[in-house]
Symmetry: C2
Subunit: 210 residues, 2 copies
DNA sequence: AATTTAAGCGTACACGTGTACGCTGTTGTG
DNA sequence: CACAACAGCGTACACGTGTACGCTTAAATT
């Protein structure tokens, strides 16, 4: 049970995954990939693909999971930076923009499959984004002392804005424009934070006088 | 030049467009449509398709244009309702949600092609959304007396939130849940409006004392 | 009335697709 | 050591695809 066999299997499994990721681009979506293409890129005979995934769908779901993992790693990274001091919003946006730049195709996968044709894919992406939102929600609730529901609405809005900005960023090559987009996004997040805080405070006052 | 000929041509052109729209659904994206399928649905021989569009791409761009038109009609409709009184935000969200319910597939087309694999499609969708944003920007600037750039950032954020909510709404069947989403969206737009107003005011004060 | 234009059809072709099937060689197990 | 398990390969098949080509038929033009 040393696993020389299982080890090999895991290795070519990763080759398949990497082959798929490699073929993703602005011009190539996952759904446009064929089993044969992926197998070829992985250096496999088409039929050998089935030894690892029963379907392209199964591979796709695996990719979405990986993408979600990348997203969570990003968040941890952002939290570390924030702990060292600095504006929470600014650091978060910067970190996110770096993800777009370094892992654009992974982010593209999430964006595309969120509105894709497979219900399973959509559900998987939505789940990943929900994790993302919930963690932010917790943070906001503790940091800003917000009502639970205000915090959730705030978090949801912030995530929507950031993902929207990410989507825009994918179509921008110019570095200056990207920076401008980042600044705009930061400002939008500040609007939301400000608005949420005010609504939350107002509600507390009305509670006080109840 | 009476146009019996041109009239017929226009008619079957519409048949093609309608055939394509009819095949769009949650499970079927435009890019997954084949020329042959569309032609069949339109009651045409595959090769006759070429008499009207050189490409599936050309048909796709036409559809995006149509979708943009639908969007603009929606805005006019919303403005009419607003003129009759009521909360601007609430009426806008309600109107938008009605679009999702009645024209879900058209909206899906826009959402999908915005992050699709064709640069031309992406550009077309982004252009339509820009129109949408700009009109809102004008409105906000006049109605709330905002700075030009604050108004733009506000408008952009609002559109992002509304489109994001539309995207979420597409995956919700339950009417109650949909209503809840609408309320949440309204609240998010209020956060943004409140935040923008405050930032704008603050800036005016600093101008005053300059 | 004669001629040109053009929408629509049917046939035909080459190509890429998913996958069923049986085989080979290596690893793990009794 | 014998045997089972199994990753990987090659062949083969049916199917759907885009589109080139030539034809028909009805409208438009001359």
């Amino acid at each position: 049970m040393s696993g020389v066999r299982a080890q090999q299997k895991e290795k070519t499994r990763r080759q398949i995954i990497n082959a798929a990721l490699k073929q993703l681009s602005a011009e190539r979506s996952f759904s446009s990939l064929s089993l044969r293409e992926v197998a070829k890129e992985a250096g496999l005979a088409p039929t050998s693909f089935y030894r690892h995934f029963s379907d392209m769908d199964e591979l796709g779901l695996t990719l979405v999971d990986e993408a979600g993992l990348t997203l969570r790693q990003l968040m941890r990274q952002a939290r570390q930076r924030i702990a060292k001091g600095g504006s929470v919003i600014q650091i978060s946006v910067e970190t996110f923009m770096e993800l777009i730049e370094s892992n654009g195709n992974v982010f593209r996968l999430l964006l595309r499959e969120r509105s894709g044709t497979s219900a399973a894919f959509r559900a998987a992406v939505i789940r990943e984004i929900r994790y993302f939102t919930m963690e932010l929600c917790d943070y906001l609730q503790k940091a800003n002392n917000l009502d639970a529901d205000v915090a959730y609405i705030h978090a949801h809005a912030a995530v929507t804005i950031v993902f929207g900005a990410g989507s825009d960023a994918l179509d921008i090559d110019d570095k200056e424009e990207r920076e401008q987009l980042a600044q705009q996004t930061i400002q939008q997040l500040r609007f939301i934070a400000r608005g949420a805080l005010e609504f939350s405070d107002r509600r507390k006052v009305s509670k006080k006088f109840r």
